[in-house]
Symmetry: C2
Subunit: 370 residues, 2 copies
């Protein structure tokens, strides 16, 4: 890994071959299942990453911010779902994007539907809308089994300039699973939620609704059944969290932080590295399965995991405690750290170095802000 020995640290590195394998595997799974593949781009927020997800091409995508929608529309992605409920004050920006690309908005509340109806009427534009459904995560979305949810869907369908495209859910609670078996059970809740509400709405006269699901744990582990669209995102890079709960193997993790040893305390069996909270994020990781590695998996620079715990992070310092006290590193040595949560870690860097064939072949520049 000579390519990693001279870069300035801390650095965020993407192993392009591993990322490509992750992308190809997930895209093939969606293709075989015959569903629309609309991957989330929020983990990497790069044009290069999104094209990798679609096999070196543009295609439908899911975004988490309006800044991403603008960034990817500028790059030629013309079919975008913004998978966060829209606030009325952001509709002007949505309209500007919708002139260049199909932009699908998310709603889950009568007042938002009213705001969108009024906005679309006064601006004389049609708006594409998905109804957000709660499949048990309890973050956003309507109850798939409540009569009010049917009423809300009907009110969207009746609004002259709103086009109800489908039902969208996200099993974020799959991150709380302890293993692949539990993830598979949550995957059934995820698809079941949009299927049940979809069936009721079909009987109420609204047919052809797209049933859209997606979380990296459920999409990695469970079969794709009874839905029309999938939206995984984190799988491009995966991370230590996903490996710990069984979504992937540690060797599938395609992104890591390269760090330099800046201190060594032999009596405490610790070393100090130059990757702190601003290089890794303070995401505590999968504490519910207690994998023992702390704030990330500490590896040799060639990727071999070390018996260590990243016990604490302050702004620019990380403390690594060795479980094997015979380990010795010297000041100036380099390590790689597989982050707990690649989405939050990637967001801390304004460029990603791309590793291929053992050398840095270029860099990706992500979209930032909102």
């Amino acid at each position: 890994m000579s390519g990693l020995s001279t870069i300035a640290t801390p650095a965020f590195v993407v192993d392009r071959e591993i990322a490509k394998a992750n992308c190809d595997r997930m895209r093939a799974k969606a293709l075989i299942a015959g569903v629309v593949f609309r991957p989330h781009v929020k983990t990497h927020k790069t044009v290069e990453g999104a094209r990798l997800q679609h096999g070196d091409s543009e295609g439908p995508i899911t975004v988490s911010t309006l800044a991403e929608a603008e960034f990817f529309a500028n790059a030629g992605f013309d079919d975008i779902t913004w998978a966060v409920p829209v606030a009325p004050s952001k509709l002007d920006r949505c309209l500007a994007i919708a002139k260049r690309a199909r932009l699908i908005l998310l709603v889950d509340h009568p007042s938002a539907v009213a705001a969108l109806s009024e906005f679309s009427a006064s601006n004389q534009v049609d708006l594409d809308v998905m109804l957000k459904v709660d499949c048990g995560y309890h973050r956003a979305g309507v109850d798939p089994d409540a009569p009010e949810s049917v009423e809300l869907a009907l009110s969207i369908a009746r609004a002259p300039r709103l086009r109800l495209r489908g039902l969208l859910t996200h099993a974020g609670h799959s991150y709380g699973a302890k293993d692949a078996g539990e993830i598979a059970r949550i995957a059934r809740d995820e698809s079941g939620a949009v299927r049940r509400l979809g069936s009721v709405l079909e009987r109420a006269g609204i047919s052809g609704l797209l049933r859209s699901v997606g979380s990296t744990p459920t999409m990695s582990v469970a079969p794709i059944e009874g839905v029309d669209e999938v939206r995984p995102g984190n799988y491009v890079f995966y991370d230590a969290f996903q490996a710990a709960i069984g979504s992937c193997h540690l060797s599938d993790c395609a992104a890591f932080v390269v760090t330099t040893v800046i201190g060594s305390n032999e009596s405490r069996g610790e070393c100090l590295v130059d990757a702190g909270a601003l290089a890794l994020s303070k995401d505590p990781g999968p504490v519910h399965v207690d994998p023992g590695f702390g704030f990330g998996v500490v590896c040799r620079i060639d990727g071999v995991p070390l018996p260590a715990r990243l016990v604490s992070l302050s702004q620019e310092h990380g403390i690594v405690r060795w479980r094997d006290r015979s380990i010795r590193v010297a000041i100036g040595d380099r390590l790689r750290i597989v982050p707990n949560h690649s989405c939050l870690t990637a967001a801390l860097f304004d460029r990603y170095l791309v590793l291929a064939g053992g050398r840095i072949e270029g860099e990706w520049r992500p979209c930032r802000g909102w």
Copy 2:
């Protein structure tokens, strides 16, 4: 707060008048104590913030990254301490900065001293060095009471081109205090560590060493005694953490995130806001004193705290749970959130909006990266 009603959210806002009061108070305290005032700029990383710390002027500063050292040297700050142990691979960049500004480096290990000695000799340059001392935080630094520490200081003093300027310590463990009384006890440990080692070194023939201390809790609460230099940083903004442990009042917090309500679930007594982990950081805050507010203090847009707990953050969503179930907010309403850790929150934004006299008067652009 009409100035906050139209900005795009999430936004990071600095109340300039509160920040100025925090800066003036700390600078006056250092002035009265007769010590060198070398504030840390890592919390805000802006030229405007650093000048505010020095009363609308340049002055000695402390930085956490080489990128900050370069940024502030370019802005006319010519006396800079980099308060993180230096790795040998970064010495070329240090040398480039040292041609424009006085740059003081930190060491705490014989191998780093050897690397600096060799580098300074082969480049025929003198390097200013502080010896990092551990006062109980156990992150970095030498044991102030160990014979090896005296040996290390002597080896720096004897190196032909290293200039030992002083002893530097940071009581980061003051963040683990439960109240102002405990902070005051830690402050005595902090100053005691550099005073004890300083006395021993004086008897060993090394006199005139600067004894440098600094953490926002200790500098806010305790008297400045028996030291020569102070380096607090977080106090410019303070945050919910500092208020919870007694470093300041909540009304001293000068930075907050403005967020928009994007969902409301009345049956769960919750609302959803557009400030998630990428707008606030996942810093869990002062869990050891369990202040009950979760990932930040949720306030009305005018700054009045609300009976709420910010129970969870995902990438772009925050869930607020009301302790008073009669509270109702509507989609589109705005709230402000005082972050748990202003250093990590500020680092997520590429601009800070500056509030003064109830309106946004401009923006500060921070330094980013390493």
